[in-house]
Symmetry: C2
Subunit: 202 residues, 2 copies
């Protein structure tokens, strides 16, 4: 069995990382999803421990102070973060942990835990990226332009990643990520005693 690892799936807004990550979790039965923590109140349809772990601001600040987070961010009046404990426990058990996160979060993780596998999801074209941002339909014209401009800037960070996957057709993007997972599992560095495992088998 290979050692576990953290797969960071990231990309600018409109790259479709939410959709791809969901489709990947549905198909791949041997991946564990890393659930984030947040201080914001749960929305009506959200389940604690599934969408997020909903925690108090005091607890969040304590976790930051104790260095318990792989990354964290303050977005509009609320904190979001990724607890180390869950990720490292799963990896120790040999699991592959999927973390879907924005580019800023991925860069924070790379500074603190560069052993992770970093995958950058990229839109097929900027027109398509704009369409996807518009399709959400929840934002003003100005917000859309801001998001688009940020996404454009964030494409510069692709060089910080190990792999990139073009998300044109979701199924194809998922297949590409699955191939990355198969290959990463086959890496010699993720195994101990390869020779012994062969020579001691009867």
């Amino acid at each position: 069995m290979s050692k576990g690892f953290l797969l960071v799936l990231s990309g600018p807004s409109g790259s479709g990382k939410g959709t791809v990550s969901e489709a990947l979790m549905k198909r791949a039965k041997d991946i564990v999803f890393s659930t984030s923590i947040t201080t914001r109140a749960p929305r009506p349809n959200e389940v604690d421990g599934e969408n997020y772990f909903f925690i108090s601001e005091e607890r969040f600040e304590e976790m930051v102070a104790n260095d318990e987070l792989l990354e964290h961010a303050f977005v509009h009046t609320n904190y979001y973060g990724t607890p180390k404990e869950f990720v490292f426990e799963q990896i120790k058990k040999g699991e592959i942990v999927l973390l879907e996160i924005d580019v800023q979060g991925a860069l924070q993780i790379k500074e603190r835990y560069k052993e992770a596998v970093f995958v950058f999801l990229i839109p097929p074209t900027m027109d398509e990226l704009r369409n996807r941002i518009i399709k959400r339909g929840t934002e003003s014209e100005k917000d859309i332009e801001t998001r688009f401009a940020n996404a454009f800037k964030e494409l510069d960070f692709v060089d910080e990643y190990d792999y990139f996957v073009v998300n044109d057709v979701v199924e194809k993007a998922v297949e590409d990520i699955e191939a990355i997972i198969v290959a990463e599992r086959l890496r010699v560095k993720r195994h101990e005693n390869i020779k012994e495992n062969v020579t001691e088998k009867r």
Copy 2:
């Protein structure tokens, strides 16, 4: 399009690298096979430029002197080697070049061209490895034992490789190698102007 690369498929005798490499070439249409050179005479069924490039000893020694080979070896009274020119030309064109080679050859290549992707093919068990060596049926009991002992020793070199693939069922081994190829193509370092390719597309 990704930059090309050299895929070195290697392993001890009995690991089945010949069979796997042949099956891979049949399935994958976008791989180019690296043909070795040799000074031995062609066997009745062998075609020049297909099985080997058959060349004179003088030419071979000239190529060694001119540093034209990625690796070379002297096996029973004959020379064998891998010409650099073909490999590097194909890589420049963006091709993936498959080189099937023994462990000693792979280690030579690693010293001279570590940018290659090194895959170690491993037998499922030592019993199966012995069976495969015996099945060839061309060797004496003593030769079989020598081959087996060498194979056992060569397993130590797996740590010099990037990936390892267990060759139990050939189709499964080929699929694993195909996943490695897909993943390696998606490596950020194998691409230039990723951002430009997205932003300039309409």
